[in-house]
């Protein structure tokens, strides 16, 4: 089953997670571009200090400031922000408490350092807090939302529930006060129909298992699961007939040798055996992929498949991914 992501939906906050190595950042970038069509403005955030967005869009490393990384036809824009916990804390203190001298005092006493690098968990509170602020920000004369959608290149599946749920933990600790209020508001948005957590996977055993575990953990924490996005699906050069001929032995060493002569290629035994071995290896991988696809189809979450970028991910490839994520029926 495939399902387009962009609309219809009231989703404003898209959280993209996945096992390491599944191409989470690429998918988040493609999704941001898909959401930006029709003249929309989308913010793409990263929270792990990797500068993955800058790499993806081939721009200079992102500062703690929102800037355009791509423009799509129709005037749509993708903005990007690398959220930094320390800067987010200072900004937060400034915004809510107008801490002039006290803010400096906090810094002098190592509180900023304590909060952002040492005290476990506080970092995630600040990162999710900034995402929340961007998703809800209004501006301009008409007071419209500044961003039509926010896409987060989030921590990997193994940590995503803890990351998103950190404000529930804080709410459990702080029974009163502004932090409690803020934590409650963040959890309300995270659990609302305006948020979706998408899980990126590839058609391999461990990433699929991790996606399934992730779905369960998210649901147990009342966090809304959006889509499973199967990334890097290899298009097989072998059609059904070729696969059949290979697996039933119609295509054997002798048959390959004959065809190679016709193709004007010197058919050494080494080459013939090598091609055959690569063919069998490919069949085995296809069978394993199909197994994983079947497992995923048994889960009640819509699945979208994205093709492997044969020559690595570049910006043109990102367009193609955005096209698939946007789905049919778009201008």
């Amino acid at each position: 089953m495939t399902a387009a992501l962009v609309r219809p939906s009231g989703i404003r906050l898209h959280i993209v997670t996945g096992k390491g190595g599944t191409g989470k950042t690429t998918v988040a970038g493609g999704l941001a571009m898909a959401l930006a069509c029709d003249g929309k403005r989308v913010l793409l955030c990263e929270v792990e200090g990797r500068q993955g967005i800058a790499q993806l869009f081939d721009v200079a490393p992102l500062p703690y400031a929102e800037r355009t990384v791509a423009v799509v036809p129709g005037g749509g824009e993708v903005w990007a922000l690398a959220i930094d916990a320390e800067a987010a804390l200072l900004e937060y203190l400034e915004m809510f408490y107008r801490l002039g001298r006290a803010g400096k005092a906090l810094d002098r006493f190592g509180v900023i350092d304590f909060a952002t690098t040492i005290a476990p968990g506080v970092r995630d509170v600040l990162l999710t807090g900034k995402v929340y602020e961007a998703a809800r920000r209004r501006g301009g004369k008409d007071g419209n939302r500044v961003y039509d959608a926010v896409v987060v290149d989030a921590p990997p599946t193994g940590r995503i529930t803890r990351f998103l749920n950190v404000n529930a933990e804080v709410a459990g600790l702080a029974k009163v006060g502004p932090i409690r209020k803020q934590a409650d508001s963040i959890m309300t948005l995270m659990r609302s129909r305006h948020t979706a957590v998408h899980l990126v996977t590839v058609l391999e055993d461990m990433p699929v298992q991790e996606a399934l575990d992730g779905i369960k953990a998210l649901r147990d924490a009342d966090l809304p699961v959006g889509r499973v996005i199967v990334n890097m699906v290899r298009r097989s050069p072998l059609d059904g007939a070729a696969r059949g001929a290979l697996s039933d032995g119609t295509i054997d060493a002798a048959a390959i040798e004959v065809a190679l002569h016709k193709a004007g290629i010197d058919a050494s035994p080494l080459l013939v055996d090598g091609l055959l071995a690569e063919g069998y290896d490919h069949l085995e991988r296809l069978a394993l992929q199909e197994e994983q696809r079947t497992i995923l189809s048994g889960v009640d979450v819509p699945v979208i498949e994205l093709p492997l970028a044969a020559d690595g991910v570049d910006l043109g490839m990102l367009d193609d991914l955005a096209g698939i994520l946007a789905g049919p029926g778009l201008p």
Binding site: G21, V59, D113, L173, G177, H282, L318, D319
Partner: protein
């Protein structure tokens, strides 16, 4: 269906990378000799690090099994293994204690393999119980700040992995039960977090904020600088007075443990720098994984940490050596209407895909080798399926030893 065409960033698109023809990456520093590393009786700790999804946990388990079957007495500390990998080592329960792994085939009966999965909360609890008085331990274990810190916050896992490594090493020195500990590092935000854990702990303990929180329980308030009032009132405003009180109680109760914590963390850090430790950086031949590996290698070098080398996992070497261009040209000369010829044409296209992939992977590896000429490395072929039994681990161990 068409995607939105980007107009802004397209102009910045880089030219396509030059196609590189060499079949294998240059290994400036020579191959990483895994067996020599495992057989060296001076190797007491092997730390596997690298970004998520590169096969770090599997590599740790495979190295541990291979070492055990070559005669070492090994304990492998895994952090968050996939369920089936854990089951393959008999780790069906998470009880924070090393357990013997059955089914190993040890050389001359000398080697042994124990395995354990880290339970960070239990490790933390055990430290508290072991080092605080019963009354104080009780006070800490029930403190809400401690409960959150020890069970659900990111960052604790790195501290506890370090603590556990220290414990295992102390036990191996004391009892001689093991002579090699293989550690898998936590799936961190950054691969560096594990290394930074001791320093972060030390800076937590030395931090003025912690001193500030501790001091009120010790002396009169007038010793504080003028900033103190602003701090406490801001903290209460931000967190609520009750949280501040909880944190304060926690820190005060924890004070007695701090010294020991720091001492052990620093000792573990020093041990990691010393002879007897070997860091193995694991990556896949992909840009992101190799970039993380490069950060790690540079960091280890800067801190003079003993780096054994790089494992490039899951490379995908073609079985035949025909070039992609020749294969595609040949496929084009075949008759698509003839089933046998069409099938062979498809095999040739499949081969061309694999050759291109290999060129890209080799290019990335060569770039890494050029930037880090002194780092030995070994490329390990991809297995078609995931590992979930000892035979699979044994196979990975062989591949780690022989490479592609």
């Amino acid at each position: 269906m068409t995607g939105p065409n980007r107009t802004g960033a397209a102009s910045r698109r880089q030219p396509a990378p030059r196609v590189v023809r060499a079949r294998t990456a240059a290994l400036a520093a020579g191959p990483l000799d895994v067996d020599a590393l495992l057989d060296d009786s001076q190797t007491h700790i092997i730390v596997c690090c690298g970004s998520g999804g590169v096969g770090k946990t599997t590599a740790s388990a495979a190295l541990a099994l291979r070492a055990a079957e070559r005669g070492r007495r090994v304990c492998v500390l895994t952090i968050d293994p996939a369920r089936r990998l854990a089951q393959s080592m008999g780790l069906s329960q998470l009880d924070n204690t090393p357990r013997p792994v059955g089914g190993t085939r040890s050389l001359r009966g000398q080697g042994s393999l124990d395995a354990m999965m880290l339970d960070m909360k239990r490790t933390f609890d055990e430290v508290v119980v072991a080092h605080a008085s019963p009354a104080k331990a009780q006070q800490i274990l029930t403190n809400p700040f401690y409960l959150a810190l020890s069970s659900s916050f990111a960052g604790t896992q790195e501290y506890m992995a370090m603590e556990k490594l220290g414990q295992l090493h102390a036990e191996s020195v004391g009892s001689g039960r093991w002579d090699l500990i293989v550690v898998d590092t936590p799936p961190s935000r950054s691969a560096m977090d594990f290394l930074d854990a001791p320093e972060r702990l030390s800076s937590l303990l030395d931090g003025r904020f912690i001193r500030l929180l501790l001091t009120p329980t010790r002396g009169p308030a007038r010793i504080f600088s003028s900033g103190f009032g602003a701090i406490t009132s801001t903290m209460s405003k931000l967190l609520g007075a009750q949280v501040l009180a909880d944190v304060q109680t926690f820190v005060a109760a924890f004070d007695t443990l701090f010294g020991g914590f720091r001492q052990r963390a620093e000792a573990t850090y020093e041990r990691l720098k010393a002879r007897g430790t070997a860091f193995v950086v694991v990556a896949t031949p992909e840009p992101d994984a190799l970039r993380e590996a490069a950060y790690f290698v540079e960091r280890l070098t800067r801190e003079q940490m003993p780096l054994a080398g790089l494992v490039v996992n899951r490379v995908d070497p073609p079985a035949a050596s025909l070039t992609a261009e020749e294969a595609l040209a040949g496929a084009g000369r075949l008759d698509g209407a003839d089933p046998a010829q069409a099938a062979v044409a498809a095999l040739l296209r499949l081969h061309a895909d694999r050759m291109r992939l290999q060129d890209r992977e080799a290019h990335l590896q060569r770039r890494f080798a050029a930037a880090h000429p002194s780092v030995p490395s070994i490329a390990v072929p991809a297995l078609p399926s995931d590992v979930h039994d000892l035979d699979g681990l044994r196979r990975v161990g062989e591949l780690l030893s022989t490479g592609v």
